[in-house]
């Protein structure tokens, strides 16, 4: 039954890819959405069956077919549903279905064949994403991993006639290749070390080892896997592709570049929690990179003027939070944040999509403003999403972000906790800057601004449905993991725990900080205290945004002028793209053009080939004189030859 979950969207892909031009656009959208909903139903049933199994160690394993069998090496295409993958498939199919439905309205300006092409890609993406999270070994996961990368490329470059879009697609693909290379090396090294690619077998083998105190094979394996995760999940230094990926259609940004694909890296670490737990050095690196990404991306998000780019940097920043959680060993908290983030970030993207759709493609915040009266549905749902991500108490983001920060603090990583807290302040500021600039105040009249339609249409029904469902999700999703301190029992993390169970045991054995027991016995008062701090930070951030961007916009301008240098650095995203261009792209270009092309290819390789040819022509020029065609010369040479050979044998 598990195989139905990825196969259904794949069937949708086949239908839309083969007959998309011939069926009406309504049929194309209906097929794509229907297969996603069907997949969601199957996923719900499968998750229900899973919950019915006895705990711990509940899992549904379904061998699909024997894939590779060569000598000692054999890999089966096996699907495995455990609590972790159950959460992932519900997120992918649930949010995926909503985004498919939303897309039927959002893409209505496309021609019929483009419309079908869009939905075929979207279905293909869902199929690969489900393979990724359901695979029970690295090879099956790798198929999904590469597949979602391909679909990301196709969808980022969906409007391929726009040069920036096709460039962004290529950038996303190439940067991901760097990460994938690390991933593949990590998988190969894991196979060399443990002679298996199965996640369960790997976890068992690794748990028999003691955690590495110095940098060893396990640290190298996990570090290489983390390179892959950093590529897919846009962590420093491979984060540069995600903001550019906003060239794709907005629902794609919501599905692929916010809710699902970019979280694959987090999932990868969660899936291999045991391996990572045995490599504390890697975990430290993961946490450091995560928190650095969270902070730097949030600071960039403060000054961007493109509505989708702000959200993109916000995504990078939130992914940083998830990696922070993974890095401090709070795997369940990281996945919890992944799950709530999927709701509110998809909501925010779809809300921004509703705005862009209403404004006929306008994305610049400076030309928006005052939209709350004209777009009440988009406004109210967007506000819910913004409050959720900012960490307003009671909404989804509050619980998950707080859980991450609490686990960080309880693990003794005070510095990481402070940075996380600062990031959370910045999150509230940039998110409400977005809200105030887009929906409040007056319409910005930039010189040369396109004239928007005088009457704006709010989200059409299909879009409104997705927005409202996601807004409800953003409100209630967090209660699945209501922490103990607030009278809950943190059911979400209890549910996930078996997926990391070996890791928890070894963590205890290794005496690592951030121990689960410790976290559980940590006083509820500490958690409540930290929550109060977070709440203050969130409210403070919103207040600051209110002051600077709504009450007193001139103060914001003053700040920009006072810190002009800093502002320029942030607006240019720390010049990372420029640095990469100067240190990587240009050297490669120069070496390729002048060294490999003009040097090696033209001179050495072509030169050798041409030299061989010219030698043949030149020596033939000499030899052809022998073939004068004269009968007498031929006869004379024949005679001379006979005389010489006979003479040699007679007088030797």
């Amino acid at each position: 039954m598990l195989r139905l979950i990825p196969v259904l969207p794949f069937l949708g892909f086949l239908v839309n890819a083969s007959f998309g031009r011939r069926i009406s656009r309504r049929a194309a959208g209906a097929v794509a959405s229907a297969v996603m909903l069907a997949s969601l139903m199957v996923a719900l049933v499968a998750a229900g069956n899973l919950v019915g199994l006895p705990n711990p160690g509940r899992a549904i394993v379904e061998p699909a077919f024997s894939w590779i069998s060569s000598g000692d090496f054999s890999v089966n295409a096996t699907l495995r549903l455990d609590p972790l993958s159950a959460v992932m498939i519900l997120v992918v199919t649930g949010i995926g279905s909503l985004i498919h439905i939303y897309s039927t309205a959002y893409m209505d300006k496309e021609t019929d064949s483009e419309y079908a092409r869009y939905f075929s890609y979207l279905n293909l993406f869902a199929a690969f994403m489900l393979v990724l999270v359901l695979g029970s070994n690295f090879l099956v996961m790798f198929v999904g991993w590469e597949g979602v990368g391909l679909c990301s490329y196709l969808l980022v470059g969906f409007w391929y006639q726009k040069e920036s879009a096709s460039d962004a697609g290529k950038k996303a693909f190439i940067v991901n290749r760097i990460g994938d290379f690390g991933f593949l090396l990590g998988v190969l090294l894991a196979y060399v070390r443990f002679s298996t690619l199965d996640f369960q077998d790997l976890a068992r083998s690794a748990s028999a080892l003691s955690p590495e105190t110095s940098f060893g094979t396990l640290s190298l394996i996990t570090l290489l896997l983390f390179v892959g995760a950093a590529g897919k999940s846009a962590q420093i230094p491979l984060h540069v592709w995600l903001p550019d990926a906003m060239e794709g259609p907005t629902p794609v940004s919501a599905l692929i570049h916010a809710a699902t694909m970019v979280t694959a890296g987090v999932y990868l670490i969660g899936r291999n929690a045991v391996l990572f737990s045995h490599a504390p050095i890697t975990l430290k690196i993961v946490a450091a990179i995560g928190v650095a990404t969270a902070l730097l991306a949030a600071t960039i998000g403060l000054v961007q003027n493109d509505i989708k780019r702000v959200l993109a940097y916000s995504t990078v920043s939130q992914l940083g939070y998830m990696f922070l959680a993974m890095g401090v060993g709070a795997y369940a908290a990281g996945i919890f944040h992944l799950y709530t983030h999927a709701f509110f970030k998809a909501l925010l993207f779809l809300g921004s999509g509703a705005v862009i759709h209403a404004l006929g493609g306008e994305q610049d915040l400076r030309r928006m403003g005052g939209l709350r009266r004209e777009l009440p549905i988009a406004y109210s749902t967007f506000l819910v999403g913004a409050m959720a991500i900012a960490g307003v108490p009671g909404l989804a983001g509050f619980f998950s972000k707080d859980e991450v920060l609490f686990q960080t603090y309880a693990g003794g990583h005070t510095l990481l906790w402070i940075v996380g807290l600062v990031t959370s302040l910045l999150t509230a500021i940039y998110m409400f800057r977005l809200v105030f600039l887009a929906f409040h105040g007056a319409r910005g009249e930039e010189p040369g601004a396109a004239h928007h339609p005088s009457h704006l249409h709010d989200a059409p029904p299909a879009m409104a449905l997705a927005l409202i469902v996601l807004a409800l999700g953003s409100i209630v999703a967090g209660y699945a993991g209501l922490p103990r301190a607030l009278g809950g029992s943190n059911r979400f993390e209890r549910f996930l725990e078996p997926s990391f169970i070996v890791s928890q045991e070894t963590r205890r054995a290794a005496g690592l900080q951030g121990d689960l027991e410790e976290a559980e016995t940590a006083t509820a008062s500490l958690e409540v205290g930290l929550m109060a701090v977070s709440t203050l930070v969130a409210v403070g951030g919103i207040g600051l945004a209110f002051f600077f961007f709504l009450r007193n916009p001139r103060a914001a301008d003053d700040m920009v002028n006072r810190f002009a240098g800093l502002h320029r650095v942030l607006a240019n995203k720390y010049y990372v793209d420029e640095i990469y261009d100067a240190t990587v792209v240009q050297p490669i270009r120069i070496v390729s053009e002048d060294g490999l092309w003009r040097g090696i290819d033209v001179r050495a390789i072509d030169g050798t080939v041409n030299m061989v040819g010219e030698t043949v022509v030149g020596s033939s020029e000499i030899l052809r004189r022998l073939q004068a065609g004269s009968v007498r010369v031929s006869a004379a040479s024949l005679f001379l030859g006979v005389v010489l050979i006979l003479g040699y044998y007679l007088w030797r």
Binding site: A628, G629, S630, V631, R632, S634, A635, A636
Partner: protein, 100 residues
Amino acid sequence: MPTLNQYLVLSATLFAIGTAGVFIRRNLITILLSIEIMLNAVNLTFVAFGRALGAVDGQILVFFVITVAAAEAAVGLAIVIGLFRHSESLNPDSFASLKW
């Protein structure tokens, strides 16, 4: 009575004359005649050895050579006539179409 050596010297001289004729003369018919001289030089060697050794093998071989020479003359002259019809010339240097 001439000795074997004298026969062989005569034979070698005739062969050299024939060879020179083949390479030097510029008339196909003369070249054919020169080939005949070379063949007869060889025939002379055969019969000289036959006589010196008191065996008939050499003489028998000479009959074969004479037969082949007759056939060769017939075929050779036919080719010469064909070539002459083709290019109105008997100079071997005018037949250089083997060259690429």
